[in-house]
């Protein structure tokens, strides 16, 4: 049983504590400037323990990234089974996105993911898969809109979902550098315009 498979269970405490520590330190200092020493100490262990569980720093980062993006995605799954009106589901989704985005360390971490993904083919693929899943969830939500006649039957959901993601990502990026760049309302207004709900 190799190291990696041990963690496919994702059950033991050290795994969780290292993941939590990673969120903090990778977010705060970035991948390169975070030493294993610091990461382990933050988790309450020492360097040695880290290598007991993970093959290398890179290996760990990839696993951490998968974990993080997967957890991120899960926050939106309840929307798929919601009984609320279409408009309120949309609002709800934007609110969740807004809240997650403003969580400490998330945006810096996301840039870190981007920075690394853009230079590493295999990481890029993971990001691509993540985006595809993202589009899919939005498509499923939008489908509800069509079914309830809130959206035009002609709307290309695939394209529309990509537009929505672009807008959300774009606002997020902008907000990282320009303070008070946007409000929840503005995002909501723009997305509704895109959906033809205005």
């Amino acid at each position: 049983m190799d190291k990696v498979s041990k963690h496919t269970l994702k059950s033991n405490e050290s795994y969780q504590r290292l993941m939590d520590a990673a969120f903090k330190v990778f977010g705060q200092y970035g991948y390169d400037k975070t030493s294993i020493d610091l990461l382990a100490k933050e988790a309450g262990y020492t360097k040695g323990t880290f290598y007991l569980h993970f093959k290398s720093k890179e290996d760990f980062f990839l696993e951490f990234m998968d974990h993080k993006l997967s957890v991120y995605k899960q926050h939106f799954l309840p929307l798929l089974n919601s009984n609320a009106t279409f408009e309120s589901i949309i609002s709800q989704g934007i609110k969740i996105f807004y809240k997650l985005s403003n969580e400490d360390n998330w945006i810096p971490l996301f840039f870190e993911f981007c920075s690394i993904a853009v230079r590493n083919e295999s990481v890029k693929e993971r990001m691509s898969i993540y985006y595809q899943e993202w589009f899919k969830i939005i498509c499923m939500v939008l489908e509800k809109g069509k079914q309830t006649n809130r959206l035009s039957a002609n709307l290309d959901l695939e394209i529309t979902s990509r537009k929505i993601v672009a807008v959300l990502d774009g606002y997020n990026l902008q907000n990282s550098f320009v303070s008070n760049s946007y409000s929840l309302d503005q995002i909501e207004q723009l997305i509704k315009q895109i959906l033809g709900l205005d």
Copy 2:
């Protein structure tokens, strides 16, 4: 050709070649993974030459970033004096953006800027200034649209410019990971929708 100018010429050349090399190596490997050794070698010099011109790696990066963002911005300035129709100015702008974005190394470099800016207050400020200038240029273009009655007089140009930037950045980000994520036409269509030109 006197002594001074020969020395100055040489100095200017090494400065410029280091800047050019930076675009390549920072884009390719990222800030942390790029060593001064590599950067200098890429420019055809040795480490020592680098430190003849710049105080430190960080110092250099900031200067390089300023330089790069300033050059980037300049590509859009001709739009301000264009005599073309409003719609074609918009198309033209998007085309320029699209072309620059697809230049090798630009997107990775931009993520690098983001990654560093988000953790460094002084870099963040530079990014903020850059974004402000960006908004301003777009506002000036949109103003033309108002003057020629192509845009509604009620349109809040400040907010609209931010929306446009968000959309462009967002599509750029998406396109870095999802291949064939969008076409020029799609961006143009979305921006025209935002402007109420559809």
Copy 3:
């Protein structure tokens, strides 16, 4: 033998070996010309081990200097409890000083301490403290001379101790450059003259 003690033993050994190596290499090459690489190699380790124990070269030097001066001082402490005659205690003290001074590397090392102390306020303070302790020990010895009526009750011990230290340091310095500059007898004679024992 439990885990902790084995680790601790190893750690103590490398610490001690680095200190010992420092006596040799700092004495031989001086502070600036001694590289951490050389120091570590002399101790039988590599650079990394050095940084396991010490924060920086400067930090290490200060710790080493404290250590060395403290050990130096300890050689004289037995004099304080000696039952020998006052004159023989004085002779004994000078002999110890002479022996320590002729130990390989000590004088060069002492100049190194001086060189650095004179330019660094915090090192200077340590040197000052060291001299004060030095004066004190001599005062305590001289006090015995007063109690046994070998020294005049009028003698200012504080000032006299400083004179003795000056003479010893001065001869040491001279002896570093002028071969056969002085003999033990000459120092002893001068100090006895200062004490009014002649």
Copy 4:
């Protein structure tokens, strides 16, 4: 005509300016921590000029040391032809010594000389010669004391001169670290005691 011989004349301005700068920067930062860049700049030149005149940093330092020690010595030569009383010549000499010792940078520089001399045979020889000259001057002064019956005819002048130098050097060293360690009066008193003038 080689580089060195140019300067045997010791006439040109650059020579003097570099010597003056050296006194300041070597005194302030020490040999190793003083860069040629800084030295030249302090003298009002650039690196290149330095190498126009001197073969290497070490070469320059030795020449500077010779120069400095020679100038130092010259301050005492007037004593040899003085018509004052023996006691006042002694006082005068100590005063000159005291004044020179308290000149900014001199003591640190002297330690630098010691530090380097003790590790370099040829520099050591220069120091030895300097000390010999030093002893000689003092001997010549003391001879006057004998001729005027102020000193015992039995006094071994050679040994006495060495004692005096030891006392002066020793007090100087002490004074570098222990503030208010000694006064002119104390030195004078001790030296007079050594001479049997008390």
